[in-house]
């Protein structure tokens, strides 16, 4: 009853025309910045912070939240159409989404992403409304050892599933781990692999690396032969999903939503794992794993649902405990404070209209997003008919502006060029960029949590086995390796990361 009344209050706030208006502005901006390669929600929210001064706290926070989850919708668009992921989550979408686009199924891929995201957003909003405080409490049981074990499991599941090019996939993960080490060591402050360049102290920018190894490398590959270029598929068959498609995406969407919702609650990096985990799961249990990497619709449906669910549930630690789960949430903390509200456990009681209003607005925002994105699919697909000579300089230019806008750091732009060439060389050697990004994203987290756990235990590695959650997760990781090594499974084993021949 209580929750119903609270949700009623929330909807009365969120359905206020002014708030609907700002919610719409938020999700529209979010979609746009998500679509523009390089410019992410972090930069956008940072730029808009001063504007929110003049708004009411509720309107301001509804708008900023809308930008964040709106960008999750928009981010998949460029990943699918031009193989240019703007965030770690859409890097996974690019694998099969881009292959679908090359086969003329860009419309279906975009529709899958939008519908999956909408379903995930709806479920995650309900979770937020009903279980936010207990979920946040449960997430607090995750300390450094648990996060370490979780990431080990995530990495091993991905590796265990690879075969054929297992060596190359492993090599790429290790290269990614090494690239992730660039920058100032957070424990000692010592610079690593920075070559005396202070601009590299904060490490390599994810967006630069992703735009380089995915986008620029793809462009270089397409420029190889003027005639053999197959990137722009002119004949687009059907913008909408067939009945068979619907049947294929239902289960992955549900599984992705469940995985993403749970991982998103973990403030120590769970949301990063969500789309990778979903992709691995879908490929593992698929009846036709050979399609993955060649345009399997499940490879879009699962990860897209997972990342949107995680985006939504990552608000749980912020709204219930005042803890930011990632940089965008840290910006939201700043936005709260600028509005005169200190985020913390008291917000739910002191500002019920604000708390429930934001939650209700998320569902409204998801409705607006799906209404906004489905009609846009036709427009986005038309983008593919833009002549390549006009499109590719524009892509590179936008990517550079976007990356630079985050930190005003020219090395972020150099990195795009550098990793574009690296990515191209890797493609020529038959190595794939996805494992590299997995290593790059998870490597620093793995190291951070491993070392923190060891500092807390004062050098005793038993801490990983003494704590039940961490021991269970590590047990599962061992199981994953054993299963992968068994001959029966080896026959069925497939290539998680291999995107194309």
């Amino acid at each position: 009853m209580d929750i119903i009344a609270s949700l009623g209050l929330g909807f009365s706030v969120a359905l206020d025309p002014i708030n609907i208006f700002y919610c719409f502005i938020g999700v529209l901006l979010g979609t746009l910045v998500g679509v523009l390669p390089g410019i992410g929600p972090t930069a956008t929210i940072a730029m808009l912070l001063p504007i929110t001064f003049s708004l009411s706290p509720t309107a301001a926070l509804i708008m900023l939240a809308g930008i964040y989850y709106g960008a999750q919708y928009g981010g998949s668009t460029t990943a699918i159409l031009i193989n240019l992921p703007g965030e770690s989550s859409s890097a996974v979408t690019a694998i099969d989404g881009y292959q679908m686009a090359r086969k003329g199924r860009a419309g279906a891929a975009l529709a899958t992403a939008a519908l999956g995201s909408f379903f995930a957003g709806t479920v995650a909003t309900l979770l937020l409304a009903f279980f936010a405080p207990p979920l946040a409490r449960a997430a607090l049981n995750f300390g450094a050892p648990e996060y370490f074990a979780l990431i080990v499991l995530g990495l091993l599941v991905s590796i265990a599933l690879a075969h054929g090019s297992l060596l190359k996939a492993l090599g790429m993960i290790v290269l990614g781990l090494l690239l992730g080490m660039v920058g100032q060591d957070i424990y000692t402050g010592q610079p690593r692999f920075t070559f005396g360049v202070r601009e590299l102290y904060s490490g390599l920018n994810f967006v630069s690396v992703a735009v380089g190894v995915f986008g620029v490398a793809e462009i270089l590959r397409n420029l190889e032969s003027e005639k053999g270029r197959d990137v722009m598929v002119k004949t687009v068959t059907g913008l909408w999903l067939s009945k068979a498609d619907f049947r294929r995406i239902i289960a992955p969407v549900i599984r992705g939503t469940a995985l993403g919702s749970l991982l998103g609650v973990l403030p120590g990096g769970g949301h990063i794992l969500s789309s990778f985990a979903s992709y691995s799961t879908e490929k593992r249990i698929s009846k036709h794993p050979e399609e993955f990497g060649h345009g399997a619709i499940e490879g879009v449906a699962g990860p897209e649902s997972a990342n949107n669910a995680a985006a939504q549930t990552s608000f749980i630690p912020l709204l219930t405990l005042g803890i930011p789960a990632h940089p965008v949430m840290a910006l939201m903390v700043g936005a709260f404070i600028l509005q005169g509200i200190t985020p913390g456990p008291n917000v739910i009681n002191d500002q019920p209209a604000l708390f429930w209003g934001i939650i209700a607005s998320m569902w409204i925002g998801n409705v607006l997003l799906v209404l906004l994105n489905l009609p846009l699919i036709g427009l986005w697909v038309k983008m593919l008919s833009i002549p390549y000579r006009a499109l590719f300089p524009a892509i590179v230019l936008f990517a550079c502006i976007g990356c630079f806008s985050i930190n005003q750091n020219v090395y972020d732009i150099y990195a795009i060029g550098f990793f574009g060439i690296v990515g191209y060389v890797l493609i020529r050697f038959g190595c794939e960029p996805a494992p590299l990004l997995l290593g790059f994203v998870l490597g620093p987290l793995l190291e951070e949590h491993l070392r923190r756990a060891m500092i807390i235990s004062r050098g005793d590695p038993m801490i990983f086995l003494e704590r039940p959650i961490s021991a269970t997760l590590l047990g599962l990781a061992v199981l994953a390796v054993v299963i992968a090594a068994l001959p029966k499974f080896r026959k069925k084993r497939n290539e998680v990361f291999v995107e194309e021949d």
């Binding site: 005042g322 005169g340 200190t342 005003q408």
Partner: protein, 327 residues
Amino acid sequence: MKTNAIKFAAAALLAGLAMSGTAFGQDYPTKPVTVVVPFSAGGPTDTVARLIAEVMSKDLGQQVVVQNVGGAGGTLGAGQVATAADDGYTLLLHHIGMSTAPSLYRSLPYDPQTDFATIGLITSVPMTLVARKDFEPDTLDELIAFVKANGEDITYAHAGIGSASQLCGMLFMEALGTQMTTVPYQGSGPAMTDIIGGQIDLLCDQTTNTTSQIQAGEVKAYAVTTPERLGNLPDLPTTAEAGLPGLQVGVWHGLYAPVGTTPEIIARLGSSLQAALADPTVIERFAELGTVPVSAAEATPAALTEMLTSQTAQWKGIIDAAGIYAE
């Protein structure tokens, strides 16, 4: 008719030129002013900057834009301003890290004391000593005894090299003459998460991050590191009251311009800063952060220079003794 019009236009043009010429000094600023914050957006320092910038924009009649140039413990952004044009259009808003960087970073490409012109102090954010809520000691006295007895079995969280929480921890351990196991995090957020989750024992952090958690009873608080108690935490004793007068630390923020900026421009910015610090909204928002703006007398170049000089010397001693450096 025609010639008159031309003459009039020429006269107007000349007058315009003459006016812009004579009024050059007083006319500052004629374009938006950038305030570089050497940390990411959304953090406590960024919040202070944005609150101030809003009011200074009105006072100066030009937009004051906050630009976040994070990285390398704040030395990247500071370094950029050190070499920026000294025309008053690029400023730096930095905190206590300005005084610790020369000791923490051995190859700093700028000198905080000679490469900048000071404009004024802004605020000094108090720090609070907090612990996970099931941590044994209940008062600062008990905590001191407990830390002395258990030493490195106690874990102390801080927000990374050069962060205010690391400095406070160093000062605390120096005051007690005991070492704890220090656990660095990437920023205050994750450190606070682990305190609330009971993963780690102690943290000394800015009221910006701790006040709401203390009020909600999510963490146990021992003392505030300022000479006086805080308005929104009236029951929390000061370190001096609770028996540890040596633990005095506040995260002071100052506004700087590149060295060589003319005294006229510095004075104009100073008066604008003082206007911002007297603004009711700024005072109110600062109070919610658990801090107060400095007095008009402290929002001056002399006060900031004095603070920077004395703090640089103080932290050099403490940091050198602790043997901590970033490169």
